[in-house]
Amino acid sequence: MTPDPARALVIGASAGGVQALLAILPELPADFPLPVLIVLHVPADRSNVLAPLFASKCALTVKEAEDKEPTQPGVVYFAPSDYHLLVEADGALALSSDELVNYSRPSIDVLFESAADAYGAGLVGLVLTGANEDGAAGLKAVAAAGGLTFVEDPASAYARPMPEAALRACPAAQVMSLARIPEVLKGLGQA
């Protein structure tokens, strides 16, 4: 059986996440074939700077996710501060101000679980550095839906708890160093 072609990439990160994403997103080419949806935990009053910060360094278009916005390949969407980011069954984005999940809003689990429903085996989930355990249940949902799961190697990550928790929840995930991640992502969505 050949694996389902990838249709979307979701990324979750916390402490050290800006640096990690700076090592990944600028490496992706303008014709990257997937939409990239990202939850990065940052202090609430500072997260609106994420999209501008990355936009100036990336070949991809980078923006803050808007409610009910359809996604497009080659566009990076950051969850806005203080809102959860979800994916609807038709692939459109949704924001919500539901309660905190894992002490976080946005929460990585909320994004990954709804994206797993929407994209099923066409989803790729990546958990990066972080000092909490958000994302572990989400990555497990990605695997359960038949999607691909990647985790940054905790041994070399800036903060280990998040990738470690993801691996405990999802032992079959592929572990890779930050340096290797761009290469692996560039291979996605290629038939």
Partner: protein, 282 residues
């Protein structure tokens, strides 16, 4: 293999169950969540299932159909009650500095707070109007579909540990007084002064199914339509359009937009950064 017997993912079965449960709630109790944004509804229904210790959403449907006493609790899961006083202080500052100077020219005012939750936004506006000297000439209509929320709004009692954030927001909104002027602290709770709700009418009103609420100078409906799908948002915005007086103002949540609405043409941007619009001349 016969298509009818082909395997379906567990989440696809859940999607069918959600559809049926929402239909049951509508037919039995006339609460209509069928056109709410589905991904968030799903999370909350699964939380409710876990909370009630039930094996499936079908079991949850069975319970709520036969046990009306369970309905308020289920509504608590289905409606998101997250709120704060002076949430997004810049919005309240924009009302204070840019909208109220226009309202000042009217001898009497009507303000509708749609989706008022436990009243945080109502007391915020009441305090703002009092600080700006407009309170006495204003009637506030505070509506919601959640009866527990309306009761809490009418009581105006909040846990003291939330007050620090409320105070900080109030200051950032350009507050001219101290928030502590408006409540008394007692046993870990802040009890807001009942004179603040002297001009407030609380009522059960649904943006999904109820009618126009007439001749408002200001409507504030924040973080409610974000939970609706596009057609339902259109319905709600249509209600606001028809409930606003000439040149009336509409404020919505910071991540909501009229841009995609069928009625966008009826509104002009007034403070675009804070999502405050003004009704155009018909």
């Amino acid at each position: 293999m016969d298509a009818a017997l082909s395997p379906v993912a567990p989440h696809e079965v859940e999607d069918i169950e959600i559809q049926l449960l929402l239909e049951a709630l509508f037919q039995r109790y006339h609460y209509d969540f069928r056109h709410y944004a589905r991904a968030s509804i799903k999370r909350r229904l699964l939380q409710a299932r876990t909370h009630f210790g039930l094996p499936s959403l079908t079991a949850l449907q069975e319970r709520v159909l036969h046990d009306p006493e369970m309905l308020p609790q289920l509504l608590g899961f289905l409606t998101v009650q997250v709120s704060e006083m002076f949430r997004d202080p810049a919005y309240f500052r924009a009302l204070r500095e840019q909208v109220l100077p226009h309202l000042r020219t009217y001898p009497s005012l009507k303000v509708w707070i749609a989706g008022c939750s436990a009243g945080e936004e109502v007391y915020s506006l009441a305090i703002l109007f009092r600080e700006e000297g407009l309170f006495d000439r204003t009637m506030f209509y505070a509506t919601d579909i959640n009866p527990d929320a309306l009761r809490a709004a009418e009581a105006g009692v909040y846990s003291l540990d939330r007050i620090r954030k409320f105070t900080e927001n109030h200051q950032k909104s350009g507050g001219r007084t101290s928030l502590s002027d408006y409540y008394t602290a007692d046993y870990g709770r802040a009890v807001f002064d009942k004179s603040l709700r002297a001009n407030v009418v609380f009522s059960d009103h649904s943006l999904v199914s109820d009618a126009v609420f007439g001749e408002m100078q200001l409507i504030s409906c924040r973080n409610v339509m974000i939970y609706f799908d596009r057609p339902l948002q259109d319905r709600a915005v249509g209600l606001f359009k028809d409930s606003l007086a000439r040149n009336g103002f509409l404020g919505i949540g910071s991540k909501e937009s009229l841009r995609f609405s069928r009625h966008a043409g009826a509104f002009a941007d007034f403070v675009p950064e804070e999502k405050i619009y003004r009704r155009r001349e018909p």
